[in-house]
C-alpha cells in the first residue's frame, strides 16, 4: 500500500513536470495535427473543398477538435478568411470542409492552410494549437486553356437582390476590355494585370432565360460572356391541405405562391414527407400530390411539404386524422321514378367509404322560382319523395353528400332535371266579348286570356265554345278553336245567348267560363267622362250600382288607332268602385276609351259608364285644313269641318284664329297677339271645339290679309305654321261686273247678227253702185217737190267731141301684163280749140270705159245723165266715204274677181265740191258756180287693180283724181 502511494506521487510529479515542459516548449508538434490536406474546387458553386485526416488516434477513439483554417487570395499574406471548424474526429476519418468564394475562383489564386487543437474535456491538457500546415495553392487559371478571354462565373444561379461578383481573365495585357450587363457597360476593379472584377449589388430579375453579361475586346471580334440566372425568392407553400375521397388515397394540395421565374430545369421541386411512416415522395406537380394510404389503416398523419430549389428550402407541416378529412365523391346514378302531376321519387347512389361510414346527403329542389332543401342519411343508396309539385312543371334536383360522423366537406353536386305530368286545367279562362250589330245580326267577338301556367297544368290544345240559345234552350252550337288562338267571332241573331268557354289540354277540360250575350247590343247612350291619366295609368271610379251586380269589367283598347285595337279587360269584384288601369302599351298623346260594365246576377253585362282620357296630353302637332269661302270686300268665311277632334293628341278646347293685316288694328272680339317671330297680329278665340266655321268681318276692301286657324288645348296650341294669304276685292267691282257683262254680251250679239246678215246690210246700206232709183235721194227730191230735179240719162247728153284712143284688137293680156296697158279713155272735149282761162262753164265728167268694160254684160248700170246738179249729188256721201268705198272695191276686186274672167270693174265715184263747208252742204244748197265739177265714175283698169302694194294703189287713186281734175 505504501508502495502504491509512492508510485502515484511519482506519476503526478512526472505529469506535472511534463505539463510544465509542454507549456514552455510551443513548437513541439501536436500528435493530432491535420495531415493529408487535399484541396479541390467546384467552379459552378465557386467552392473550395478541403479534406484532411488526423492521424495517431487510437482505435475507436473520438476526440473533439478545433481546426483553424486560413485562406489568402493572390498572395499568402493577403488573408481573406479565417474560420474555426469544430468537429469530433474519429479514428481514420477523413474530414471535409467547404468554403464558398464570392470571387470566382478562376480569377485569382487562393492559398489555404490550417492548424488544429484538441477541444475535448477528456484531455484538457491538450488545448493548444498545432503548427500551421503548409500553404495549399489553388490556381485554376492555368487550366483554363488558351482562349483570349474568359468571363466567370458560368451560369450562376442567384436570388433576386443578391450581390454577385463577375470577373474576366484576359490572356493579353495589351487588350482593352469592356464588360456589359444587358448592354450597359460596367465599371470594374482590376485584380491583376489581366484580371478585373465587377461587383453587382442587388441584382434584379430580368427574364426567365437569365441576364446576359459579356465582355469584348475593344479592337477585335472576341466576345465572351456568362448568363446569370436570377431567381425570384422561393415562397413558402400556402393552404397546404390533405383529404381523401375513398380512404385509400390522400390528395394533398397547396398554393405554390409566385413563380420563381426560372427555366423548368432550375425551378423548385416539392417533396412530401410523412413522419410516422417515414415515407417521402417527390411530387410531380407544383400544386398537388397524391399519397397512398397505408393498408394497415394508419389514422394519424404528420406531413411535411418541402419546396426546394438550388438556393432555398421552404417547409410546411400538417397533422391530421384520416377519418376527419373525408371528402366524398359526388353521388351518381340520380333517377326519378313514379313521376306524377304532383309527386316524384328521386333515387341516387353514393360511393362507399369503408364499411361503417354513414353519409349525410343534401337534396335541393328548384322549380317555379322556389328552392326546397332536404337532408337524408344514406349508407349506400339514397331515396327521397318530392310531394306537392305543380303539374307539367320542370324541376331541377341536385344532391351532395358529406361524412355524417365528422363533417369535413360536401361532395360536388350531382344534378338532374325532371318534369311532372300534366293535369286538367284548374281554372276557367277569363272571357270577354265585344258586341256589334251588323245587318240585323249580332256580331259577337269573344276574347279570352291564355291560362297561366299554374292554371293550365299542361299545354292547352284547344278551346271549346258552346253557344246556347236561352230562348230556345234546346238549340246549342259547339265550336272548337285550336290553341293558341285567343278569340273568335260568332254571328248571332237578336236572341239571348249563353256562351260557355272551356280550355282543354291532353288530360282534361277546365271549368267553363259563362257569359251572357244579349241580342240587344246595349249601345246605351252613356255620357262620356274625361279622365286624366298619368304615367302609372288611369285611375277610374264609378258609381256603385243599386241593383245586385256580381262584379264589374273595365275594357279598353291598348292600340285604339289600329283596326285590331287589342281589346283588354279587367275583372273587378262587386264591391269595387274604382281601379287603376295600367298598361305598358299606353303612349302619350293617344286617347284611350274605357267602358265600365256591371255584371248582373244573370251574368248579363250592361254598360255603366264611359271614360276617355290621355295618359299624357300633348300639344296638337297639326292645324286644321281651313277652307276659305264667301270672300267679299269686307269679310270672308273660314271652315275646317273635316278636322277630327277625336284623333288629336289632347282634348281640343277651342280654336285660335290669327289674322295679320297691314293696318294692325284689331276689331272688337279680337285681341292683339305677338307670335314667336315677334310679328303682331290679331287673335280671336273660339271657345267651342265643335264650332268649325268662322266669319272674319270688318275687313278693308282691296287689302291684304293673312290668317291661321290653330286648335288650343290644356297643354298648348298647334304650331304657328304658314299663314294663308288673302286679298279683299274692290268695293265697286261687283257692280261694274253686273253692268259690263250684259253690255258686252249685247254688242257681241249684234256683231254676230251683222256678220251673218252682212250682204243684206251691204245692199241696204252701202251698195257698191248706188242705184239712184233705189236711192232715197229721190224721195228726198220728191219731197222737196222740185220738178227740175231728175235723174239724168246718158242719151240726154250731147257730146262735144269724142276722142278714140287706139287699141289693138284681139290681144288679151294676162293680169301681169295689164300693168303696162294704158287705159282707154273717152274724153268729152269742148268744141273750142283752146282754153285760155277760167270761164263760166259746166263741166261733166264723162264715163270712161275700156273695152272689157264695154263687153261686160254684168255692167248693167246706166251712166247717170249729167242732169243732176253736182251739188245735189254731193249730198249723198262724203268724199272720205267715197274714197273708202273706192279702196274697198279695189280690194274686193283683188280678192273676188278671178284673173281672166272679169277684165273690167266699175267704180262709182262722186266728187265733193272743190270748196265749201261740208257741214253747210245740207243746209246751203250750192248755187251755180263758175265752175263746178263731178268726179268721174271710172272703170279701174286691171293693171292698176293688181298693183302689188297698197302704195301703188293709193298712187293710182291719186292719179285718177289728178286726171279728173284736169280741165278739158
Amino acid at each position: 500500500m505504501a508502495l502504491f502511494s509512492v508510485l502515484q506521487t511519482t506519476f503526478l510529479l512526472a505529469s506535472l513536470s511534463l505539463r510544465t515542459y509542454q507549456t514552455e516548449v510551443w513548437s513541439e508538434p501536436l500528435p493530432w495535427a491535420p495531415e493529408s490536406l487535399k484541396v479541390s474546387i467546384n467552379s459552378t458553386r465557386q467552392c473550395l473543398h478541403l479534406q484532411w485526416s488526423v492521424h495517431n488516434l487510437a482505435y475507436h477513439q473520438e476526440l473533439k477538435m478545433v481546426f483553424q483554417i486560413e485562406i489568402s487570395r493572390i498572395k499568402t499574406s493577403n488573408v481573406i478568411w479565417v474560420e474555426d471548424y469544430s468537429t469530433t474526429v474519429k479514428w481514420n476519418q477523413v474530414l471535409h470542409w467547404s468554403w464558398e468564394s464570392k470571387l470566382p475562383l478562376e480569377c485569382a489564386k487562393h492559398f489555404l492552410r490550417m492548424r488544429s487543437a484538441v477541444d475535448d474535456a477528456k484531455t484538457p491538457e491538450q488545448r493548444f494549437w498545432s503548427n500551421w500546415s503548409s500553404w495549399e495553392e489553388v490556381d485554376v487559371q492555368n487550366s483554363l486553356g488558351h482562349e483570349p478571354l474568359f468571363v466567370f462565373p458560368k451560369d450562376k444561379l442567384v436570388e433576386e437582390g443578391s450581390n454577385v461578383t463577375i470577373c474576366y481573365v484576359s490572356r493579353s495585357q495589351q487588350n482593352n476590355i469592356s464588360c456589359y450587363l444587358e448592354g450597359v457597360r460596367m465599371q470594374g476593379e482590376q485584380l491583376g494585370p489581366n484580371v478585373s472584377m465587377f461587383n453587382l449589388n442587388h441584382v434584379a430579375f430580368i427574364r426567365e432565360t437569365g441576364t446576359n453579361i459579356y465582355c469584348k475586346v475593344d479592337q477585335g471580334d472576341v466576345i465572351k460572356g456568362v448568363v446569370l440566372f436570377v431567381s425570384k425568392v422561393l415562397e413558402e407553400p400556402k393552404d397546404f391541405s390533405c383529404e381523401t375521397q375513398d380512404l385509400t388515397t390522400l390528395n394533398c394540395t397547396w398554393d405554390p405562391g409566385r413563380d420563381t421565374g426560372l427555366l423548368k430545369q432550375l425551378s423548385q421541386s416539392y417533396t412530401l414527407f410523412e413522419s410516422f411512416s417515414g415515407k417521402k415522395i417527390l411530387c410531380k406537380h407544383k400544386s398537388w400530390c397524391s399519397w397512398q394510404v397505408a393498408p394497415e389503416s394508419q389514422e394519424t398523419y404528420n406531413f411535411t411539404l418541402t419546396a426546394e430549389n438550388n438556393l432555398r428550402k421552404r417547409s410546411v407541416y400538417l397533422l391530421f386524422n384520416l377519418t376527419h378529412r373525408v371528402h366524398p365523391k359526388a353521388p351518381f346514378n340520380v333517377l326519378f321514378k313514379n313521376v306524377s302531376a304532383t309527386n316524384a321519387t328521386m333515387t341516387w347512389k353514393v360511393h362507399t367509404i369503408g364499411n361503417y361510414y354513414t353519409l349525410l346527403c343534401q337534396v335541393d329542389l328548384y322549380g317555379e322560382g322556389k328552392v326546397t332543401q332536404h337532408n337524408i342519411s344514406v349508407r349506400v343508396d339514397g331515396e327521397h319523395l318530392f310531394g306537392g309539385l305543380e303539374p307539367d312543371t320542370q324541376y331541377m334536383a341536385q344532391v351532395r353528400c358529406a361524412n355524417a360522423n365528422r363533417f369535413w366537406k360536401w361532395s360536388e353536386w350531382t344534378c338532374q332535371n325532371f318534369t311532372t305530368a300534366e293535369a286538367a286545367p284548374s281554372e276557367a279562362p277569363d272571357v270577354w266579348r265585344n258586341v256589334k250589330s251588323a245587318q240585323g245580326d249580332c256580331v259577337v267577338t269573344l276574347f279570352w286570356k291564355p291560362l297561366l301556367k299554374l292554371q293550365a297544368n299542361g299545354k292547352i290544345l284547344f278551346y271549346n265554345i258552346v253557344i246556347e240559345n236561352l230562348d230556345r234552350s234546346s238549340i246549342s252550337k259547339l265550336l272548337s278553336i285550336p290553341a293558341p288562338a285567343n278569340g273568335t267571332e260568332v254571328i248571332l241573331d237578336q236572341c239571348l245567348y249563353q256562351i260557355h268557354v272551356t280550355a282543354n289540354n291532353s288530360v282534361g277540360t277546365s271549368p267553363a267560363s259563362v257569359i251572357i250575350v244579349s241580342g240587344d247590343p246595349g249601345n246605351t247612350e252613356v255620357e262620356e267622362e274625361r279622365v286624366k291619366g298619368t304615367e302609372d295609368g288611369f285611375s277610374l271610379s264609378w258609381k256603385p250600382q243599386p241593383r245586385n251586380v256580381t262584379g264589374y269589367i273595365v275594357d279598353w283598347c291598348d292600340h285604339p288607332r289600329d283596326p285590331l285595337c287589342d281589346l283588354q279587360w279587367k275583372n273587378l269584384g262587386p264591391n269595387t268602385t274604382s281601379t287603376v288601369v295600367s298598361s305598358g302599351a299606353f303612349r302619350p298623346g293617344v286617347r284611350y276609351n274605357f267602358r265600365i260594365y256591371g255584371i248582373s246576377t244573370e251574368r248579363v253585362p250592361y254598360l255603366l259608364e264611359k271614360k276617355t282620357g290621355y295618359s299624357q296630353e300633348l300639344a296638337p302637332s297639326d292645324n286644321p285644313q281651313v277652307v276659305m269661302s264667301n270672300l267679299t270686300s269686307h269679310s270672308f268665311t273660314l271652315s275646317w269641318k273635316d278636322y277630327s277632334t277625336e284623333s288629336q293628341p289632347s282634348f281640343i278646347q277651342g280654336y285660335h284664329v290669327y289674322l295679320k293685316s297691314k293696318a294692325g288694328q284689331c276689331h272688337s272680339g279680337w285681341e292683339k297677339a305677338v307670335l314667336s317671330d315677334d310679328a303682331v297680329c290679331c287673335k280671336y278665340k273660339i271657345d267651342n271645339p265643335k264650332q268649325k266655321t268662322f266669319v272674319v268681318e270688318n275687313l278693308q276692301p282691296e287689302s291684304f290679309y293673312e290668317f291661321l286657324v290653330t286648335p288650343y288645348t290644356s297643354v298648348g296650341e298647334g304650331p304657328h305654321g304658314a299663314f294663308t294669304k288673302v286679298t279683299t276685292p274692290d268695293e265697286y267691282s261687283p257692280i261694274l261686273i253686273r253692268i259690263i257683262l250684259p253690255m258686252v254680251f249685247c254688242i257681241l250679239l249684234i256683231t254676230i247678227i251683222c256678220y251673218l246678215k252682212s250682204q243684206w246690210m251691204k245692199e241696204k246700206c252701202y251698195p257698191d253702185i248706188p242705184d239712184p232709183y233705189k236711192s232715197s235721194v229721190l224721195s228726198l227730191i220728191k219731197s222737196k217737190e222740185n220738178p227740175r230735179l231728175t235723174i239724168m240719162n246718158i242719151k240726154d247728153c250731147v257730146p262735144d267731141s269724142i276722142e278714140v284712143l287706139n287699141k289693138q284688137e284681139g290681144t288679151r293680156k294676162s293680169l301681169t301684163e295689164t300693168e303696162s296697158t294704158k287705159p282707154t279713155y273717152l274724153y268729152l272735149l269742148p268744141t273750142e280749140t283752146s282754153y285760155s282761162g277760167p270761164e263760166p262753164c259746166i263741166c261733166f265728167e264723162n264715163f270712161t270705159y275700156n273695152q272689157a268694160a264695154s263687153d261686160s254684160a254684168s255692167c248693167g248700170h246706166v251712166p247717170v245723165p249729167p242732169k243732176a246738179p253736182p251739188s245735189q249729188l254731193g249730198l249723198l256721201t262724203s268724199p272720205e266715204n267715197l274714197l273708202k268705198s273706192l279702196e274697198k272695191n279695189y280690194m274686193n276686186s283683188l280678192g273676188e274677181i278671178p284673173a281672166g274672167e272679169t277684165s273690167l270693174n266699175y267704180v262709182s265715184q262722186l266728187a265733193s265740191p272743190m270748196s265749201g263747208d261740208k257741214s253747210s252742204l245740207p243746209t246751203n244748197p250750192p248755187e251755180p258756180a263758175l265752175c263746178s265739177e263731178y268726179k268721174m265714175q271710172m272703170a279701174i283698169p286691171l293693171g292698176l287693180a293688181s298693183a302689188p302694194s297698197s302704195g301703188s294703189s293709193s298712187f293710182s287713186s291719186i292719179t285718177l283724181l289728178d286726171e279728173g281734175e284736169h280741165y278739158h
Binding site: E182, G183, E208
Partner: protein, 187 residues
C-alpha cells in the same frame, strides 16, 4: 425563329446583336449554290436541311416558352416537308444527265460547331446559326427562282425538261402543303 430567339434570349442589345451574324462557311453562299449543277444543288440542299433539322432539335433545349417551342416545331415540320419535296425533285432528274459535272466547292461541314456547355456561347451560336439558316434559305429560293425565270439556263442544265416539271410540281406541292410561298422558304 431568328427574331424569337433574339428577343427571348436577350440578344437584342447594342454590342451584342452585332455578334449574331452567320458564321462564315457554316452555310453555302449564294454564289456557290448557283455554281452547282441541279443535281448537286438538290443533293446539297437535302443534306443541309438534314443538318438544320438536327441543329434545331438541339436548339429546343434553350427555348423556354411553350409558344416559342411550338413555332420551332412548326418550322421543323415545314423543313421536313420541304426536304421531302427536294428528295422527290432529285429523283425526277434523269439518271443519265449531269453525271459528269464536277463536284462543286461547297463546304461539307455542319452548319454550326458542336454545341458548347457554356450557355452564353451556346446562345450566340444558336443565333448565328439561325441567321445563317435564314440567309441560306433565301439564297435557295433565289436559285429556284432563277430556274423558273431562265429557260436557257434550264435548257442548258436540263435538256430533257424533267427538272422544270419538277420545279412546277414543287411549287404546287408547296402551296398544297401550306408551305411558305416562293421566296419565303421555311424559317
Amino acid at each position: 425563329l431568328l427574331s424569337l430567339q433574339i428577343k427571348s434570349q436577350g440578344l437584342d442589345k447594342d454590342g451584342l446583336k452585332e455578334h449574331c451574324r452567320e458564321r462564315p462557311g457554316a452555310f453555302p453562299s449564294k454564289d456557290a449554290l448557283q455554281r452547282l449543277s441541279k443535281r448537286e444543288f438538290l443533293r446539297t440542299l437535302h443534306t443541309m436541311l438534314g443538318s438544320i433539322l438536327h441543329r434545331l432539335t438541339a436548339l429546343q433545349r434553350d427555348v423556354p416558352k411553350a409558344q416559342d417551342l411550338e413555332t420551332l416545331n412548326r418550322a421543323k415540320q415545314n423543313i421536313r416537308g420541304f426536304r421531302n419535296n427536294i428528295h422527290c425533285m432529285a429523283r425526277l432528274l434523269p439518271d443519265s444527265s449531269e453525271t459528269t459535272e464536277p463536284t462543286p466547292a461547297v463546304p461539307a461541314t455542319s452548319p454550326s460547331p458542336t454545341p458548347t456547355s457554356d450557355t452564353f456561347q451556346r446562345r450566340l451560336e444558336g443565333c448565328r446559326f439561325l441567321h445563317g439558316y435564314h440567309r441560306f434559305m433565301h439564297s435557295v429560293g433565289q436559285v429556284f427562282q432563277e430556274w423558273g425565270e431562265s429557260p436557257s439556263r434550264r435548257r442548258r442544265h436540263s435538256p430533257h425538261g424533267g427538272l422544270r416539271k419538277g420545279v412546277r410540281r414543287l411549287q404546287l406541292s408547296r402551296r398544297n402543303k401550306r408551305l411558305p410561298p416562293r421566296g419565303q422558304l421555311p424559317r
